[in-house]
């Protein structure tokens, strides 16, 4: 049963949140929205979320002993292994249910990780857990860098964004490599539900979260969730910025379900990607470089091509799942 927005609002008024007050994330950080909304989606559907998190801003700021902001069972293990950790918990759940040691059939497993814990050091653990077909929802809050350790580049950092381990300098224009297309990597496992989301589009996220929860097997949602501190943007502008990312094709909203691609938001017209880039302080050094326009043009061509490709994938995969069960 998928609730509508009114049910969810009603739920918030009468129930506890899964992720609650007292955390020490920066004001304006988009990561806690992700934790809030995901647990809310699960709870409003009558599920009981059990949560795991990878090391990163969300984790270190929400569980400073002896306090915790988690109102649901929660485990943090290490940086690179949240998917393996949750797969162990999910295996335990199946085993204990089989053996009649517990009878709660409402539990849903949700893993949270940043881009470092997902694109880079945690990729193997994520891939293994998806391939094994564990029933869990993995939510990436993508702030395009290692923020907890102070704004280092990650496999998700886009070219030209200033970071401490690939700074924009006089000789080099910051990170030279593109961002990995993580949802495509996950989709490559085939027996999976995978989607992008953005903090500017909570309802789109809710719908995808619900689809992920109902999906019997591994599912993955990549949520663009700005770090206000290192993106050098005003505290209240995270969602505004992700809105621009969607409107400029920088971060298209789409989903993948067992081989079928679907674009979930198709703006009639797009803004130039420059509108997005120039909003973010982390590109200001790049914009001062003589080759700024060249780099911007390259990025524009890239996002245009990716968008066309996405539409084509949607077209050819329509009603043609490559798998029907996991």
């Amino acid at each position: 049963m998928v609730p509508n927005i009114r049910d969810i609002v009603g739920y918030v008024e009468t129930h506890d949140w899964g992720f609650t007050q007292g955390h020490r994330l920066c004001p304006g950080c988009n990561a806690p929205m992700v934790a809030n909304w995901a647990t809310l989606a699960a709870k409003s559907m009558g599920y009981e979320p059990v949560v795991a998190a990878a090391t990163g801003c969300l984790e270190v700021s929400s569980t400073i002993y002896p306090f915790t902001s988690w109102n649901v069972p929660y485990i943090h293990n290490a940086f690179e292994n949240v998917a393996a950790t949750i797969s162990g918990a999910e295996a335990a759940y199946r085993s204990l249910l089989n053996r009649g040691k517990i009878d709660n059939d409402k539990i849903k497993f949700i893993a949270f990780a940043g881009d470092g814990g997902t694109y880079d050091i945690g990729l193997q653990s994520l891939s293994g857990a998806i391939e094994r077909g564990h029933d869990f929802v993995y939510i990436l809050y993508d702030n395009e860098g290692y923020m907890n350790t102070g704004n280092q580049r990650s496999g998700s950092t886009p070219p030209g964004a200033d970071s401490t381990t690939a700074p924009v300098g006089k000789a080099i224009s910051g990170k030279l490599q593109l961002k990995k297309s993580i949802v495509d990597i996950v989709a490559g496992h085939e027996g999976v539900y995978a989607a992008t989301a953005a903090t500017a589009e909570p309802w789109d996220f809710m719908r995808k979260m619900q689809a992920a929860l109902e999906f019997k097997g591994p599912s993955f949602i990549a949520m663009l969730a700005p770090c206000v501190r290192f993106w050098r943007i005003p505290d209240d502008s995270g969602p505004e910025v992700t809105k621009l990312a969607v409107e400029t094709k920088y971060w298209p909203l789409w989903e993948y379900n067992m081989g079928v691609y679907k674009v979930t938001k198709k703006p009639k017209t797009f803004k130039p990607v420059k509108d997005y880039i120039t909003k973010l302080g982390r590109y200001s050094k790049l914009m001062k470089r003589p080759d700024a326009n060249e780099i911007l043009e390259e990025l524009q061509n890239y996002v245009d091509a990716k968008w066309d490709r996405l539409l084509a994938l949607e077209e050819i995969s329509k009603d043609k799942p490559i798998r029907t069960k996991i």
């Binding site: 009981e48 059990v50 795991a52 984790e59 270190v60 569980t63 400073i64 002993y65 002896p66 915790t68 988690w70 109102n71 649901v72 069972p73 929660y74 485990i75 943090h76 293990n77 290490a78 690179e80 292994n81 998917a83 393996a84 950790t85 949750i86 797969s87 162990g88 918990a89 999910e90 295996a91 335990a92 759940y93 199946r94 085993s95 204990l96 089989n98 053996r99 040691k101 517990i102 709660n104 409402k106 539990i107 193997q124 653990s125 891939s127 293994g128 857990a129 391939e131 094994r132």
Partner: protein
Amino acid sequence: MPVKLTVTGAAAVAHAMRQINPDVVAAYPITPQTPIVEYYAGFVSDGIVDTVMVPVESEHSAMSAVVGSAASGARTMTATAANGLALMSEIVYIAASYRLPIVMPIVNRALSGPINIHCDHSDAMMVRDSGWIQFFTENHQEAYDFTIMATKLAEKENVLLPAMVNLDGFITSHGVESFEMLDDEVVREFVGSWNPKYSLLNTKNPVTYGPLDLFDYYFEHHRQQEEAMKNAYKELPGVFEEFEKISGRRYDFLDLYKVDDADYLMVVLNSTASTAKYVVDQLREEGHKVGLVKPQVFTPFPKKEFQQVLNGRKGVVVLDRAMSFGKEAPLYSLVKSSLYEVASRPSLGSYIYGLGGRDTTPEMIREAFEDALQGNLIADEQRYLGLRE
């Protein structure tokens, strides 16, 4: 009725696991541990056990999944060796600090580099400070028995620590030998069912595992881990006694062989103790008062037991199957430091043997004993058995 089985050590351990029938086993193959996982996967696939098996993509994920599973209140096991243990090691520490009673057979193998698949104890020694209980076993019977006892001890409410059961790579794991297998029912009753107080799956009483533990509590939590180790030490005699009741086999912290009147003692871990016992017998026949001490429990280190047995002897030789570069060998340094407080200290000798699976012959063992018999021991000198200098 107990039955005699003549199988490999890996099969003996897999049978112990089958009888324990844990809720979850997550593991990754590595020589010479692989047959344990394979046997167990076979038991699962034939429906002999109803364990949920998680064939993970690496040892790091094996230990990570095992932590997730044990925190969820499931009785959980894994097994590994050498580089597998090294890859796990980050999470090995985490498992202990979360106080999760995981049981893990370790089929001892030389740790790279360079790569080598044969037996030594460098893997177990690498994680000796990780907060796990560590047992060492001489043969199939002990590997089987200690896997069962480890489960019982780890889950004691005042212990709640993970435990590893070490057995020698190839020598024990692949060698075929007879051991006595208890009845399934007897083992099941002995280990009982596992009902942890806290579980991730108890959504009515949500717990947070693995918080950020800064300067204001981390220290206290480590102090508690130390207390749990002390409790493990206190609980062990009871576990040994209970196990004797079901098996007729009596274990202790130290396995003592012909020590009563011995002037000279050898200390050695695992399967080499069998060779050493043979040499002790030979030397006894020649009229020498020699004996053997084989630690079964390495962590918590049975310091008091060592003091009692070594105090007043003429000479003690300690054999290590691992090196601690730039420092004294791991077993030797612990034995030596435990003797600081005894009334009458024996002279001591440190011997490294069998690295990377180097054969350890009776002649080599004899060499170490002879140094002792001739009064030729130097506490500060590390010697090597069977090494081409």
